[in-house]
C-alpha cells in the first residue's frame, strides 16, 4: 500500500504548499508514489487516516493548538513545513507586543467586546512554532521552502533514509555560486549564521540573506558580530535582522502572553 500523506495549514501565507504545487510535472510523478488523502488547498476529499502529516503555519490560538494535537495523534510522522511551522514565521515579530497591544493596533476600530478573548476567533493570539506544542519528527525549513529539497525529503522518507537537511551555513552555497559577498557591496547578510539548503537564492539575486531557514546547529555568533562590526553595522541593525525570521532565538517570555 502506498503511504498516505495529508497536508495541513495554520497561520501562514500557504506559499510552502504552493511550492509543492509548483513542482508541476514532477508532482504528477510524486503522486505515483504516495496517496494524498487531505490537501485543503487543492482537494475536497479528506480522510483522518494518514501516515505522514505535513504541516505549514504557526500556531496562534487555543483552537489551533487543539487541532494540531489531533493531527499529531493521527500521524506516524509529522513534518514541519516552512519557516512559520519551524520558527513561528515573520508573524512571530508580533510577539514583541502583548496580544492586547496587537489587537488594538490592528482591530482598533472594533467594538472591544467583539474581539475579546471570549470570542475564540480572537482568543489570546500568540505565535508559536509547531514543536512548542507537539513533537515534530522532521523540519523542512525556509520561506518559502525549496521545492527540490521537499521532493528529496519525501523520497528519503519513502526509502527509509534520514532526510538530507544541511548543517552548514548559506555562505557555502553562496561561494559555490561564485557570488560577490554581500558585505563587500555594503549589504547586511545573515548568510554566515543561516542554515543552507536553499541554494542561496537571495544573494544570487543580489540581495542579502535574511536567515529564513533559521541558524545552523552551532552558529558562530561571535564571529558574525565581528564581521558586522568590521563593516560598521550597528547593534540595532543586527538585532532588527535577528527579529525578522529568527526572533524565536532571542524571544523572552512577556507579560500578558
Amino acid at each position: 500500500m502506498k503511504p498516505r500523506v495529508a497536508f495541513f495549514d495554520f497561520a501562514s501565507c500557504e506559499g510552502c504548499q504552493l511550492s509543492v504545487a509548483n513542482l508541476e510535472e514532477s508532482l504528477v510523478d510524486v503522486l505515483k508514489l504516495i496517496d494524498i488523502v487531505a490537501f485543503r488547498e487543492v482537494m475536497k476529499e479528506h480522510s483522518d487516516q494518514y501516515d505522514i502529516a505535513i504541516v505549514e503555519g504557526s500556531i496562534t490560538r487555543p483552537m489551533d493548538e487543539e487541532r494540531l494535537k489531533k493531527i499529531r495523534a493521527n500521524a506516524n510522522i509529522l513534518i514541519a513545513l516552512g519557516a512559520c511551522a519551524h520558527l513561528g514565521g515573520v508573524q512571530r515579530m508580533a510577539n514583541q507586543w502583548t496580544p492586547e497591544e496587537n489587537k488594538k493596533e490592528v482591530y482598533g476600530i472594533a467594538n472591544p467586546a467583539d474581539i475579546a478573548d471570549s470570542n475564540r476567533f480572537f482568543e489570546k493570539p500568540r505565535q508559536k512554532a509547531l514543536d512548542e506544542v507537539v513533537k515534530v519528527d522532521y523540519t523542512i525549513p525556509g520561506c518559502p521552502i525549496n521545492k527540490e529539497e521537499f521532493a528529496k525529503v519525501l523520497i528519503a522518507l519513502l526509502t527509509g533514509r534520514k532526510p538530507p537537511i544541511p548543517d552548514y551555513p548559506v555562505c557555502v552555497e553562496c561561494k559555490k555560486k561564485e557570488n560577490v559577498c554581500m558585505f563587500t557591496i555594503g549589504k547586511f547578510c545573515m548568510g554566515p549564521l543561516a542554515r543552507a539548503g536553499c541554494g542561496a537564492p537571495c544573494p544570487t539575486a543580489g540581495n542579502e540573506c535574511e536567515a529564513c531557514r533559521g541558524y545552523v546547529d552551532h552558529p558562530h555568533e561571535k564571529a558574525q558580530t565581528d564581521v558586522l562590526e568590521k563593516y560598521g553595522l550597528t547593534v540595532d541593525d543586527i538585532m532588527r535582522r535577528k527579529t525578522m525570521f529568527t526572533y524565536r532565538y532571542v524571544e523572552k517570555p512577556k507579560d500578558g502572553a
Binding site: A11, L18, A21, E24, M43, G89, P125, C143
Partner: protein, 433 residues
C-alpha cells in the same frame, strides 16, 4: 416547506478559512452568513520598527500566491514616501512581473480549482487519470507563468531581486527573447484550454445581483500595476484617498475586516477589472470575451473565473509587447536601481493583484523606520460582497436537494478565488441536524 440548517465548518480538520452558516425555516432563509476564522497574524502591528528596505520582504509574506503583488504595492508605498523616481525600464519590468503573477494565479484557479467543479469531481487529481492531456497542458501553462516570474523577480514566491528604486538583478536580452518565444508558443495552448472552459461554461450558475465593482483604472492601459481607483457606480479617486472607498469595519464573526462604499458591499477582482477596463483589453482577450458572451457590466460573480481566463490572454499579449519595447531600447543593467535618500514621510500605493485592488500605506520616520502601516487586501474587500450574495442567492436555491445547495454555495465562494490567509479553495459543508 422544509427546514434547512447548514453549518460549513473547518474546525474539526482545517483551521480558519471560511465557514458558511445557513438556517432556513419552512423554506424561508432566516440566516445565511460567510464567516472568517483565519488566525490573525498582525502584520500591521509588527511592521512597526522595520526599515524601508525590509518592508517589502516582510509584507510579501502576507500571501504566498500574490507575494509579487504585495511586494509591488509595498515598494510603491515606500517609493512614494521617500520620493523615489523609477526608470521606464524598471516600470516596464514591474508590469511584466505583475502579469506573470496574474497568469500563474489565474491558471491555478481556473485550471486546478474551478475545473473540478465543472467536471463534477473533488479535485484535479482524478482528472490526471481521466483527462491527462488537458491536465498536462494546464500544468505546462502554470510552469511557464512561474518560469516567467522566476526569471524576472528572482523567485515566484517571495521575490528576491525587487527593492525600493528597482532591482538588484535583471534578466539578459537573450533570456527575454526566449521568454517571448515561449509566450508565443503558449497562445495555442491557452486557446485549447479556453475552448474546453467555453464548452463547460453553461454549468456556471446564472445568478446576478447588482453590486458595485471597484478596481484600478487608467486611460493608458488595462490597469493592474498603476492607475486611480474606479467604481462602476461612477467616479474615480486618487489612490491616496483609498480610505474614502474602503471604509473598513469589524464584525465579530470574522478576523478579516470588512469594507463597504456606495452600497451594502462591493466586489474586487478580475470581474471588477473587466467591468471597469474592458476597452483596454488586448485584441485576443476581447475576442475571447466575445466568445464567452461576457460584456461590461456583468453582475454574475460566477463569471469572475471567466474574466480571469480572459485576462490570461491580455497578460500574454501585453507582455510580448513590453518585451519588444525593452529589446528595442536595449536593457540597461548599470541603472537597474535608483539611488535615494532616506527621509520621513507617508506613502500610499495600490496595485490590482489577481484577486483585486490592494492598498499599502506606510509612515516612516527620518531614519526610514516604519512607524505605522495599513494594508487592505482584496479578499477582505470581497467578504462583505460574498455575504450579500449569499443573502440573495440562498433563497433562490433553498428548494434544491441538500447536496446541490452545498455545491452551489461552495462554488459561489470559490468564484471569488478567496485568499483568506492566502487562499481558501476547499470548503467542507457539513449538515447540522
Amino acid at each position: 416547506m422544509k427546514d434547512v440548517n447548514i453549518l460549513v465548518e473547518h474546525l474539526t480538520r482545517v483551521e480558519g478559512h471560511g465557514n458558511i452558516v445557513l438556517n432556513a425555516k419552512d423554506g424561508k432563509v432566516e440566516k445565511v452568513q460567510w464567516q472568517v476564522s483565519e488566525a490573525p497574524r498582525f502584520f500591521e502591528s509588527f511592521a512597526r520598527g522595520r526599515t524601508h528596505y525590509e518592508m517589502a520582504h516582510v509584507t510579501c509574506r502576507i500571501c504566498g500566491i500574490c507575494s509579487i503583488g504585495h511586494t509591488e504595492a509595498s515598494l510603491k508605498a515606500t517609493e512614494t514616501a521617500m520620493g523615489i523616481e523609477l526608470s521606464e525600464q524598471t516600470q516596464t519590468l514591474r508590469r511584466m512581473i505583475k502579469s506573470a503573477e496574474n497568469l500563474q494565479s489565474h491558471v491555478l484557479h481556473v485550471g486546478y480549482l474551478i475545473a473540478p467543479d465543472l467536471f463534477g469531481v473533488g479535485s484535479v487529481f482524478p482528472l490526471i487519470g481521466t483527462h491527462p492531456q488537458i491536465v498536462l497542458k494546464i500544468v505546462a501553462l502554470h510552469r511557464l507563468a512561474n518560469e516567467m516570474s522566476d526569471l524576472l523577480a528572482g523567485r515566484t514566491i517571495h521575490p528576491t531581486n525587487m527593492v525600493p528604486g528597482g532591482f538588484t538583478s535583471i534578466p539578459s536580452e537573450k533570456q527575454l527573447k526566449q521568454l517571448r518565444q515561449k509566450l508565443l508558443d503558449a497562445v495555442p495552448v491557452f486557446n485549447e484550454v479556453a475552448e474546453i472552459v467555453l464548452a463547460n461554461a453553461h454549468k456556471l450558475p446564472k445568478f446576478t445581483r447588482e453590486t458595485e465593482f471597484i478596481a484600478l483604472t487608467s486611460d493608458k492601459e488595462y490597469a493592474i500595476y498603476d492607475g486611480v481607483i474606479g467604481s462602476t457606480d461612477g467616479g474615480t479617486w486618487p489612490v491616496d484617498q483609498y480610505l474614502k472607498v474602503t471604509n473598513e469595519f469589524v464584525v465579530p464573526y470574522s478576523t478579516a475586516k470588512f469594507t463597504k462604499h456606495n452600497r451594502e458591499s462591493y466586489m474586487v477582482g478580475a470581474l471588477a477589472r473587466f467591468n471597469l477596463n474592458y476597452d483596454k483589453l488586448s485584441p485576443l482577450a476581447k475576442q475571447w470575451a466575445g466568445k464567452f458572451g461576457l460584456s461590461s457590466v456583468c453582475h454574475n460573480p460566477f463569471m469572475n473565473s471567466v474574466a480571469q481566463l480572459i485576462e490570461c490572454f491580455n497578460d500574454v499579449e501585453t507582455t510580448i509587447a513590453w518585451i519588444d519595447q525593452l529589446l528595442e531600447k536595449g536593457l540597461d543593467a548599470k541603472n537597474m536601481c535608483a539611488k535615494y535618500d532616506v527621509k520621513a514621510g507617508r506613502g500610499i500605493a495600490a496595485v490590482d493583484v489577481p484577486r483585486g485592488i490592494l492598498f499599502h500605506d506606510y509612515t516612516y520616520n527620518d531614519k526610514g523606520i516604519c512607524t505605522k502601516a495599513n494594508c487592505i487586501i482584496p479578499t477582505n474587500q470581497n467578504h462583505n460582497n460574498i455575504n450579500q450574495d449569499f443573502k440573495a442567492f440562498a433563497p433562490t436555491i433553498i428548494d434544491k436537494p441538500e447536496k446541490e445547495i452545498e455545491l452551489l454555495l461552495e462554488m459561489l465562494v470559490r468564484a471569488y478565488d478567496p485568499c483568506i490567509s492566502c487562499s481558501c479553495h476547499y470548503l467542507d459543508v457539513q449538515w447540522k441536524r
